[in-house]
Symmetry: C2
Subunit: 280 residues, 2 copies
């Protein structure tokens, strides 16, 4: 009896969340606005219809025909679910609503609030050697406009269309991360971008960041041609170089566990939510 | 408008979840059953009344007068929120319903499903040297019967009443963890309990485990009198001793990050949910 009621309630609650988000989160809800504005577009319209039926069967609480999506997402964020290739098929609707509604933003805000509380607790040396490492994708910039029209991670990764999107240089800044970034600049901690994006994407990445009002970073570290190895090896190696050059990594933030695992991790790490993809 | 609707929906959904749990989760819902059975008991009855008003103001989605409780819980599980002393006051009702309803069990099941999938993927040496480390409190045994009558972690820790509860030896086994435990025994991996409980609690802890049908462990490692140091130092030190004695830690599971951080962590770690308390 209880189970029969829940999907309906969840559907109504989710609709309420989506309806409320455009006023409060212009950046994050841009994809939704795009979807609405281009409802006649064949490439986009099926998404809208695909989301609805999923709510009843594979929604927030349901486990009919698949994993319970909220528990799966928690498993991802707590690093219990690893090495996954795609969002479970029954969770496309759940992840879509999570990302487009206010939930993703609310979860991100708690992370950034913790980062700022940590920052406020520090006694800084102020010697110009203190840095904070930022990942880019789903950390500083959001690729949600792309994922919103490509199944929110529930469809196979398409390098061609994804890279075409990156080369547009149009990814919006994540507002919570930007709040942390700006605060760091005011206290004299130097931001360092450390990204899995490749060296050939430097110009468009710089242009994208600038268009989003982001500037003042010390380094933009991109993956060099020919590098073979995991994200953990790559990123911890780059952090080691920073440390060897005399920098103190006071903080490190990313949306993937591979951004923040592997010594030297940084004095404190922060994991932003990302239920759309996994990088090992 | 959307915000006004949400608390009502959440309250109904939560009530549905609570109503459904007694049939499905006799162990976890024992405290609730106790509460119902002893509603005339002054010590217990106020809990029921305390939970209800909190739903409207500090429930799952609300952030009126406090943190958004679901985002706070995610922050705890993803190790973004650290060193916290108590559950935020506005989240007592949220955490209570999370723990007593089906949500906690569902989240735990995903973790154990991952652990068993990992186990199934292993090529075991079968040489009697493979072990799996288990924490006890909120990992193998549940102290929910205690916390259900002491504010679910939203009230100051009371060592006297908590220790009195431990000495009853009545804590129920967590059914998902027991499923993993039994599976390990069948494949020849030896369970090792590694707990912050102290040596003087050995007899009652053994009795409690046995009463819950748990047996066959290799070691029960308790904290020795006079040990000073963090949980991470204590537990990683004990794991190092296991490794030095020739054991291979194929897995390590706990409800606290301090159970699973600090080399040697074990080949793979699992973090069970626990929004009630933090041990650093």
């Amino acid at each position: 009896m209880a189970m029969a009621k829940v999907p309906i309630l969840v559907a109504v609650a989710l609709m309420a969340a989506v309806a409320s988000c455009s006023a409060r989160e212009p950046n994050i809800c841009m994809p939704l606005a795009e979807v609405a504005a281009t409802a006649a577009d064949d490439a986009v319209a099926p998404l809208i219809h695909a989301l609805r039926p999923l709510l009843g069967s594979g929604g927030q609480l349901g486990s009919h025909g698949g994993v319970p999506c909220d528990s799966w997402r928690l498993g991802v964020e707590a690093y219990n679910v690893r090495d996954w290739k795609m969002v479970p098929a029954n969770c496309e609707g759940y992840v879509g609503h999570y990302m487009l509604g206010s939930h993703y933003r609310r979860d991100s805000k708690v992370v950034i609030d913790q980062a700022i509380a940590y920052l406020d607790s520090l006694r800084l040396a102020g010697n110009g050697k203190e840095v904070w490492v930022f990942d880019i994708d789903e950390t500083m910039l959001s690729n949600l406009p792309y994922y919103a029209t490509h199944g929110f991670g529930a469809r196979p990764y398409n390098a061609t269309s994804y890279n075409a999107y990156v080369l547009e240089g149009s990814a919006p800044a994540l507002p919570e991360t930007k709040r942390l970034y700006n605060k760091l600049l005011t206290v004299g901690i130097k931001p360092v971008f450390l990204t899995g994006r490749t060296e050939d994407q430097r110009a468009i990445t710089v242009a994208n960041l600038r268009r989003q009002g982001i500037s003042g970073w010390m380094n933009l570290l991109l993956k060099q041609p020919g590098f073979k190895g995991s994200a953990v090896i790559y990123k911890s190696g780059e952090r080691q170089k920073l440390q060897d050059a005399g920098y103190v990594i006071v903080g490190n933030i990313g949306d993937q566990w591979s951004d923040i695992l592997g010594a030297p991790e940084g004095a404190r790490t922060f994991k932003l939510p990302d239920p759309m993809y996994y990088i090992g």
